[in-house]
Amino acid sequence: MTKQTLDQKLAILSDAAKYDASCASSGSIKRDSRDGKGLGSNEGTGICHAYAPDGRCISLLKILMTNFCIYDCTYCVNRVSSNVPRARFSVDEVVKLTIEFYRRNYIEGLFLSSGIIRSPDATMSDMVLIARKLRQEENFRGYIHLKTIPDATPELIAEAGLLADRLSINVEMPSDAAVREHAPEKDPSQIRKAMGDVRLRKEAANDKSHTGKRPPRFAPAGQSTQMIVGADGSNDAQVLGQSTRLYSSYKLKRVYYSAFSPIPDSSAKLPLISPPLQREHRLYQADWLLRFYDFQLDEITSVTPDGNLDLDIDPKLAWALAHREMFPFDVNRASREMLLRVPGFGVKTVTRILTTRRHRMLRYEDLIQMGASMKKARAFVVAGGWTPGTLTDSANLRARFAPPPEQLALF
């Protein structure tokens, strides 16, 4: 076999990483290299340096250290039984690629994941070595996200957390049964223990010692996880239930939902449908309502007929349509909590409404000016010069938002 070039390896190992949904580079501590002794900065907010034609942001150099893997997870293109071409970066190659890409302003940093070779510990210690070289030899101050191997020893995860901005451990599937079926070598309780360990270490790193000295920061951008949606039979209520528990148990920054996408050389066990992108989108919307709009899980899931979110309309609109007796709200009087429940009003719009109405009465036109989507909101609010009248309760209200029925092909 001829030796692979760096370009060939990069092609294989970035292709292998493209099913990872995460690419955020935000939420970490601020750093820069103004002292002239290092390279890179972190501004708190992430930067998307390019967009792929699938519409997804490219912020980090997202690669696998290797796509050789001893595990046989059915949904994964890199499982041991797959026939994809294999490659493996050396530690120095990953370091060099990261630094050279960063200097040319292509990326915000590195997202490193890996297939599991030899043993979980051997794989994890190579990943830690890469992060250590970047931080200590190259004085790299950009973003590092390490996908940790849950079975690795806690000491390795502890070191990873001191070097990386963010750690993630994938729960992979919405239920333990699905993990056991599709990823037989992975142990759901081991995954949870690893997440719990990260939370405890992060909390311990926040406690000042009796001398007032702060221990070194541990994964300052927190931890995240990824769940594959649409590969097993779980419904959205189960998916969201799982993520709510993950948020509360391990204080996760994000749960990523990855619509199961057909992979080359797929396993016979998984459906090869086009990825349920709309479902993924609705799950993110619902996740957002849970985290930023103070919705409770059962409020969102109780308005779904079969535990699955409505694909035609967003979850907030679905909730409002099912609770029309509560509407319309008066934008000049309603509380912040109530306004946040109006479809078409975002957090920013609500803040603008609240600051402006201290000075004067709000009219319908003002709401448009403030960025509210009145096409959605008009049926649910009262404002100066506007009342929805019978619109709120009209029978065809849902039809105004849902896309028109499609003529099915005859053949």
């Binding site: 990483a17 820069d32 797929s266 403030m370």
Partner: protein, 484 residues
């Protein structure tokens, strides 16, 4: 009529200076013609004749707005800003009125500048100019911003790329950073920058990180408009990627094998159901408890929390179930309730280290509420499923006395947890004759909102704990009598 020429380099400071001059001389907006020029004019050095109107304070939010809007490419920006400033003399709350249409226009301009700055941070592509082995490497980029954003964005590149020399060249203004010093020069025509081998690697990465099954050109273009493409090396391959995506996705689907039914998993999941009483060695018990999937609680908890303590302890303390901290750490009674218990036990001279401490239910049961986990009492079925482990622990330790904390423990040990407040402080016996001292659970005490009730409950628990030593001493002497 007055005329103000604002230079293209240093516009923010020049506009502020000019506006302050006009305003303090009470010159209304309609009498000023604003222009853009390369020269910095000295506007009011000598000419100002009208008496100043005195100090005029503007809200900080206006300064922030103006500092962005001055970089917009619209020639009317200076006049619009000044007109708003003029109005602000009379309309006090103007800056917080989100419905004002002129302010809204300026906000949109500000947003356009912020977006342009952001896109510049993202889409500038450096090429290496000099020797890669040099102590200070050198890079350059050609960029075409929509607004005049080179100057306000340059500091970002200073913070990020301080250990190398770089220049961002545009036809508007050029930012040049050499040996740690930043300077601006007038714009220039597009230069020929040398090829850079890393650019090919970057294009390879861009090609392969794209998933053809998720093609969404509209989402890409809304964030990366075509106007930026010609200076981004990776954009050259986009048309080919888009055109070949449907065929690639189809090929993946057609190459796929057919599917087995998904129900096999459900059958497998029922396997560990039966197995009424556990039989194993002492050392295996914690692992066996950890692997327990007898009830659904294991799916949500981090780990099972087995009991701990001397295997031949005289006293066994049984609590309800692990809480948030116990669930993460994997040891019983380390959370707030455990700490209260330790404190009260120490007060009556009872040491927890000599006792075996465990819970009636080994997995944490909770509901997730936002970022918190709210404890939930285990139900009868969960208590019943977990009996296996409690029983195994009882058989191994064979304590002389069991201390049942609260309703759940009492139910698990004696079959019923009803009427706990009346039964507390008394000893009842299990079917096999083991004595159980019933008392309150410390977490029940922690949840009592009324301070007097809480104080009384604490006193009760303390009194119950005092009974423990007496009972243990009595049972030892009873045994001695029996053996004699």
């Amino acid at each position: 009529m007055y005329r103000a020429e604002i230079s293209s380099i240093g516009a923010a400071i020049a506009w502020r200076k000019a506006a302050r001059g006009f305003l303090s001389n009470a010159i209304p907006p309609e009498e000023i013609l604003w222009g853009e020029g390369a020269v910095v004019p000295d506007l009011f050095g000598q000419e100002a004749t009208a008496p100043p109107i005195g100090e005029f304070k503007v809200p900080r939010s206006f300064v922030a707005l103006a500092d962005h809007v001055v970089w917009h490419s619209d020639p009317s920006r200076f006049a619009r800003l000044y007109a708003l400033l003029w109005r602000m003399r009379r309309e006090r709350g103007l800056m917080s009125d989100r419905g004002d249409s002129e302010l809204a226009h300026l906000r949109r301009m500000e947003k356009a500048v912020l977006r342009c700055k952001h896109k510049m941070k993202a889409f500038v592509r450096f090429r290496e100019l000099g020797d890669p082995e040099a102590a200070r490497r050198s890079f350059a980029a050609w960029f075409e911003p929509t607004h005049h954003t080179v100057e306000p964005t340059a500091t970002f590149f200073v913070r990020r790329f301080a250990d190398m020399d770089w220049r961002i060249l545009t036809s508007d203004v050029c930012a040049i950073f050499e040996s740690g010093d930043l300077r601006f020069e007038p714009g220039r025509p597009k230069p020929n920058l040398p090829d850079d081998a890393n650019e090919q690697l970057w294009v390879t990465y861009f090609r392969n990180i794209f998933n053809p099954a998720r093609l969404n050109v509209q989402a890409m273009q809304s964030e990366m408009p075509k106007k930026y493409w010609k200076n981004m090396p990776e954009a050259a391959v986009i048309p080919d990627l888009v055109a070949s995506a449907p065929a690639r996705a189809r090929a993946m689907a057609e190459a796929a094998p057919t599917l087995p039914p998904l129900r096999a998993a459900r059958v497998q999941a029922q396997l560990p159901a039966a197995n009424p009483w556990w039989q194993g060695t002492v050392g295996d018990l914690p692992n066996a408890i950890n692997a327990c999937t007898r009830c659904p609680l294991h799916e949500n908890a981090t780990q099972a929390v087995p009991g701990e303590g001397p295997p031949s302890a005289d006293l066994m303390i049984v609590g309800e179930q692990p809480g948030d901290q116990e669930d993460l750490i994997g040891r019983p009674f380390v959370g707030p309730a455990g700490q209260l218990f330790d404190q009260l036990a120490a007060e009556v001279g009872l040491s927890r280290t000599t006792a075996y401490v465990t819970n009636a239910v080994k997995h944490f049961k909770f509901t997730a509420k936002g970022r918190r986990r709210l404890h939930q009492r285990p139900n009868g079925a969960e208590i019943a499923h977990c009996q296996v482990w409690l029983r195994a622990e009882l058989e191994q330790v064979q304590p002389k006395l069991i201390l049942a904390l609260g309703v759940t423990a009492t139910e698990a040990l004696l079959g019923s947890g009803e009427d706990i407040l009346r039964r507390r402080g008394s000893i009842e016996y299990r079917a096999d004759g083991q004595p159980v001292l019933i008392t309150l659970h410390p977490s029940y005490i922690l949840r009592l909102p009324d301070p007097t009730l809480r104080a009384r409950a604490i006193e009760n628990l303390r009194a119950d704990l005092r009974l423990v030593d007496g009972w243990l001493a009595k049972s030892v002497s009873d045994q001695q009598k029996a053996t004699v």
